[in-house]
Symmetry: none
Subunit: 115 residues, 2 copies
Amino acid sequence: MAASLDTVFSALADPTRRAILAMLLEDDMAVTDVAEPFEMSLAAISKHLTVLSGAGLISQERRGRVKWCKLEPDALREASVWMQGFGMMDGLDLDAFERFLDAELADPSLLEEKE
Amino acid sequence: MAASLDTVFSALADPTRRAILAMLLEDDMAVTDVAEPFEMSLAAISKHLTVLSGAGLISQERRGRVKWCKLEPDALREASVWMQGFGMMDGLDLDAFERFLDAELADPSLLEEKE
DNA sequence: CGAAATGTCAACCAGTTGGTTGAATATGCG
DNA sequence: CGCATATTCAACCAACTGGTTGACATTTCG
């Protein structure tokens, strides 16, 4: 819950974790369902979720057997503000933003390996 | 430089490196001057600068004995767009999104002069 | 020339990261 | 109850990080 710039940026530095966030953009998901598209163990995904949770980027609520993961995009705000200080946000890159939207609407899983 | 989301976010995850970027916002600086306010060796700062350079966040130009470091805020753009996508999708930054729509509806050609 | 200043390189070290397995803990279901 | 499901825990491992120090190369300057 610290949600410092350190923890947020370092949580975002991993492509698996960014892909998870993109998936959660669609809908809340159970841990097992989050793990399904990835070629790694459930335990590894569980750790990634812990990191995301520690950065405040997601919240998790246990309901019965299942732990639901929910995106918390507010946690991005502090980092976003920090970046705005560098002046390249006086109007974001709209072309890129539109491409993001198109890609997102077409198929969220495509966001995984953008670069 | 690579400037992938991975390298940019992980470069930003370190407070020393963020502080360096903030310093370079003021002015271009020589490596020694960048290092001066920090309580660590010059070699450590040199490594941080290598990381920043690898992420495309700074450029370095050697002039005589001195290597000048220059902020390259464009490298933040891709990361910003990625983050902003989350805010937009959740109505967090609806203001900016509406401004985007307004601007586009008013005069789409204005959007070209971004760079 | 010889000395100081500017950086980087190489080796090293401790701590963190991202992954693996196998066991453990709840919870739900027939 | 007994078994499958959902998730974490614990130990372990290789690779990476962020720091150190001392040696090295280059450039400037008296």
